[in-house]
C-alpha cells in the first residue's frame, strides 16, 4: 500500500513540476520592451519524418542566433520554443502549447502539409502567425487563412514547373515533339507527393503530352521491382517522380537493375534533391533533374554582401551540426529562409507585433531576394508568388541550376541519360 502511495506521489510531483515549469513562463505574450520575443518551431522530430524535421529545426535555430546577434527583432531578443509533431493530432496539441502556454506570436513550421493545416487551425483562432516553409499542399493558402504565410511555392505549381520545362526545353533536346512525348508519373502517396503529382498531371494534360502511366506507392516500400517492370512496359520518354530520399534511391537503383531508365528522369523535391541522393547513387546521378526550390545556390547569386555572409554562415554552421551531410538539404534551406526572412525583413516593418501588424508588414513588404534566391511578394492569400521552382540537375555530385536563366549556373548535360534503357 505504501509503495503504491509513493508511486502516486512521484507521479503527482512529476506532473506538477512539468505543469509548473510551463506555467511559470506562460505569460510572455505582452510586448514589454525588455521581454524576449517568443517564436515557436513545430517540426516532426520523432516518427517517420523526423530526419528532415530535425534538420529544419536546426536551421531555424541558426536563423534566430544570427538575428539575435544583430540585435534581435525591434530591439527584443528572439526566444525559440521547440515542439515535436509527428502527426496532425500532435501538431494541434503542440500548437496549442506554443500559442496558449508559451505565448508565442509567430510559429515556424512544419514540413508536412497535414501538420501545417492542423497548426493553421489552431493559430488562426488565436491570432498567431504561421510561417510555412515546408508544407506545399495547395489547401494551406487556398483556405482563407488570414495569418498563414508560405514562403515557398505551392505543390501544384512545382509539379507544373517540371512539366513546362520538359515540354519547352527537354523535348527539343530529345528531338521529340511535345505531342509525341510519352511521360509517366510515379509519386509517393502522402499529401506531399500527391499534390505535386496532381499539379504535374494537370499541366501535362494542358500541354497535351502523353501521360502513359501514373502510379503511387507508400514511401516505406522495400521492393520496387513490380512498379519498375510495369513502368518499363509503358516505355515513357520522361519520368516525373516525387519521392522522399529512401524511395528515390530505391527507384533509381531498380530502374538501373532492370535496364528501364527512361531518357529523362525529372525528380521533384525532397528525395531527388537530397544531398544524400547523389552521394549514394554516385556518378549515375549525372543528368538526373530535380525540380525544387533553389538550393545550395552559389554565393555570387546574392548581390547583397550582407546576405552573402548570412547564407555562408548558415551553411557553415549547419554542416558543423550535421557533419555526415555533404550539402545542406533543401528542406533546411527553406526553413532557414522562412525564419530568417521573416525575423530579419518582415517583423522590423511591423507597426505592432501582433497578428494585425505582422500581417500588414508581411503583405506590404516586397523583397527582390531572399536567401532562397527568389523574392518575397505575398498575395492576399499569404502565398509567396515570387517563389519559383528551379530546374536543377545533378552534375558531378553537385546540384546545378539550369533554369530559370537568372539563377542558372550551368548547362544541361546528359539528355538523354547515358544509363537510359533501350
Amino acid at each position: 500500500m505504501k509503495k503504491n502511495l509513493a508511486i502516486l506521489l512521484v507521479l503527482v510531483l512529476l506532473l506538477s513540476t512539468l505543469v509548473g515549469c510551463g506555467g511559470g513562463s506562460g505569460n510572455g505574450g505582452d510586448s514589454e520592451t525588455a521581454d524576449p520575443f517568443k517564436v515557436g518551431a513545430i517540426y516532426p522530430l520523432s516518427g517517420a519524418n523526423a530526419l528532415l524535421g530535425s534538420q529544419c529545426l536546426a536551421a531555424v535555430k541558426i536563423a534566430i542566433d544570427i538575428v539575435n546577434a544583430n540585435g534581435g527583432v525591434q530591439g527584443r531578443q528572439v526566444q525559440l520554443v521547440e515542439a515535436d509533431a509527428p502527426d496532425p493530432t500532435a501538431a494541434t496539441t503542440e500548437a496549442g502549447r506554443l500559442v496558449d502556454q508559451q505565448g508565442v506570436q509567430v510559429i515556424f513550421g512544419s514540413l508536412a502539409s497535414g501538420n501545417a493545416l492542423a497548426i493553421a487551425g489552431v493559430t488562426e483562432k488565436s491570432g498567431v502567425t504561421l510561417v510555412e516553409s515546408g508544407g506545399i499542399a495547395d489547401a494551406l493558402t487556398d483556405s482563407g487563412f488570414k495569418n498563414v504565410f508560405r514562403i515557398l511555392d505551392k505543390g501544384g505549381l512545382r509539379g507544373a514547373a517540371g512539366v513546362s520545362y520538359t515540354a519547352e526545353y527537354v523535348a527539343p533536346m530529345l528531338n521529340i515533339a511535345p505531342k509525341d512525348l510519352k511521360v509517366a508519373i510515379i509519386h509517393e502517396e502522402s499529401s506531399y507527393g500527391t499534390s505535386v503529382a496532381d499539379g504535374a498531371e494537370k499541366k501535362i494534360k494542358e500541354l497535351g503530352l502523353n501521360l502513359v502511366a501514373r502510379e503511387h506507392y507508400n514511401s516505406t516500400i522495400t521492393d520496387m521491382s513490380a512498379l519498375v517492370l510495369k513502368l518499363k512496359e509503358a516505355k515513357p520518354d520522361v519520368l516525373f517522380t516525387v519521392n522522399y530520399i529512401n524511395d528515390a534511391i530505391l527507384l533509381v537503383d531498380t530502374l538501373k537493375q532492370y535496364d528501364a531508365m527512361p531518357k529523362v528522369l525529372m525528380g521533384c523535391g525532397a528525395g531527388t534533391t537530397d544531398p544524400n541522393f547523389a552521394g549514394t547513387i554516385g556518378a549515375d546521378s549525372d543528368g538526373i533533374f530535380c525540380t525544387d526550390m533553389p538550393t545550395n545556390l552559389p554565393l555570387d547569386v546574392f548581390a547583397d554582401e550582407a546576405m552573402k555572409n548570412v547564407v555562408s554562415e548558415f551553411r557553415e554552421r549547419f554542416r558543423k551540426e550535421f557533419p555526415d551531410m555533404n550539402n545542406v538539404s533543401v528542406a533546411a534551406e527553406a526553413a532557414f529562409a522562412g525564419s530568417y526572412t521573416f525575423l530579419n525583413n518582415i517583423l522590423p516593418n511591423a507597426k505592432t507585433l501582433d497578428a494585425e501588424g505582422i500581417r500588414e508588414a508581411a503583405l506590404t513588404t516586397k523583397l527582390d531576394m531572399t536567401t532562397l534566391g527568389f523574392g518575397w511578394d505575398l498575395g492576399d492569400d499569404g502565398q509567396n508568388y515570387a517563389a519559383s521552382a528551379n530546374i536543377n540537375q545533378w552534375q558531378g555530385g553537385k546540384v546545378v541550376t539550369v533554369y530559370p536563366d537568372k539563377l542558372k549556373n550551368g548547362e544541361v548535360i546528359n539528355v538523354p541519360l547515358p544509363i537510359a534503357g533501350q
Binding site: N218, D223, S225, A226, L229, L250, T280, D324
Partner: protein, 286 residues
C-alpha cells in the same frame, strides 16, 4: 509474358527474405507460444549493427555476419531473460501488449541513439545484376534469397535431426507432456526465442545492402511476418517458408497488375480470405 515471369521472380526473391523473417517468428510462436509484435524491431537492430560495423571497420554485412548474429543472439537472450520469461504463463493479451510496448521502446531507443537518419550501406555489389536469358537478377537479392532459404532449411533440419530440435517440436505440440518427458522447458523456450531473434536479425542484415536502416523500418515486418506465419499454419517452419514466398509473389503481382499502392492491401486481403476459407492456414492440417 517475360515481364510477368520477371515480376514473379522478383516476388520470389523478396519472399525469401519474408520467409526468413517469419520462420523465426513461427518458431517463437510455436514453441514459446509468444505473440511477438516486437519481432520486426530485431530486424531493425540488426540493420543498425550491420551499419555500425560497416562504418567503423569497413566490413560489409556479409563479412560481419557472424559478429552481427552473435550480437543479435545476445540481445535476444537479454530480452528473454529480462522480460519474456516473466510473462510465459500470462494471458495472451498481456504478452501481446508487452511486445507492443517493447517495440515502442526499441524504436524510440533507436531514434535516440541513431537519430532518424537513413543509414545506407552501399557496397560494390548493391546494383550488380545477373542475367539468365531475358531474366534479370539483382545479386544482393539473389544472395539474400539463397542465404535465407538456406538458413530456413537448416533450421528445419535442426528441428528434425537434433535432440534439442525434437524437444522444441515436442513442446510446440504438447507443452505439458514434454515437461513430463523431462525436457527443460524454460531453457528450450529461451533457446527458441534466441534462435528466432537471430534469424530475423539475419534477414535484417541481408537486406541492409539494398535498403537503409531507420528507426521504424521494422514495424511493417512484424505484421507481415505474422501474416506469413498464419498463412503457413502457425508453428510450421516449411509452412512459414512457403507462406513467405506466397506473400512475396502476391505482393509483386498486385504491384504489377493493380499498382504498388495495393501491394499491402493485397496480402491483407489474401490473409482474410485464407482465414475465412481455410482457417488452418494454406498448409495447415485441419
Amino acid at each position: 509474358m517475360e515481364q510477368v515471369l520477371q515480376v514473379l521472380i522478383s516476388g520470389i526473391l523478396s519472399g525469401g527474405i519474408y520467409a526468413l523473417a517469419s520462420v523465426g517468428l513461427a518458431l517463437i510462436f510455436g514453441v514459446v507460444g509468444l505473440v511477438n509484435f516486437a519481432h520486426g524491431e530485431y530486424l531493425m537492430l540488426a540493420m543498425y549493427i550491420a551499419y555500425w560495423i560497416y562504418n567503423f571497420s569497413g566490413l560489409d554485412p556479409y563479412q560481419s555476419l557472424i559478429i552481427n548474429l552473435a550480437v543479435m543472439a545476445v540481445i535476444g537472450y537479454i530480452t528473454f531473460k529480462v522480460i519474456m520469461e516473466r510473462v510465459l504463463d500470462s494471458d495472451h493479451s498481456i504478452q501481446m501488449l508487452l511486445t507492443l510496448a517493447l517495440s515502442m521502446v526499441l524504436q524510440n531507443l533507436a531514434l535516440m541513439f541513431w537519430k532518424a537518419d537513413y543509414r545506407n550501406i552501399r557496397i560494390d555489389m548493391t546494383n550488380d545484376t545477373m542475367n539468365l536469358g531475358f531474366l534479370t537478377f539483382n545479386t544482393p537479392r539473389v544472395l539474400a534469397f539463397l542465404i535465407a532459404i538456406g538458413a530456413s532449411v537448416l533450421l528445419y533440419l535442426y528441428l528434425q535431426k537434433t535432440f534439442t530440435g525434437a524437444a522444441m517440436r515436442a513442446i510446440s505440440q504438447n507443452g505439458k507432456a514434454a515437461q513430463l518427458m523431462g525436457i527443460n522447458i524454460k531453457r528450450t523456450y529461451g533457446l527458441a526465442f534466441v534462435i528466432g531473434t537471430t534469424l530475423v536479425g539475419l534477414a535484417g542484415l541481408l537486406i541492409s545492402p539494398i535498403y537503409p536502416a531507420y528507426p521504424t523500418v521494422g514495424a511493417s515486418f512484424s505484421t507481415l511476418a505474422f501474416i506469413v506465419v498464419v498463412l503457413g499454419g502457425l508453428s510450421s517452419v516449411p509452412g512459414a517458408i512457403f507462406g513467405g514466398l506466397v506473400i512475396g509473389v502476391v505482393e509483386s503481382l498486385a504491384g504489377y497488375f493493380a499498382g504498388p499502392a495495393y501491394q499491402q492491401a493485397a496480402y491483407f486481403l489474401l490473409f482474410i480470405l485464407v482465414l475465412v476459407f481455410k482457417p488452418n492456414g494454406l498448409f495447415g492440417r485441419s
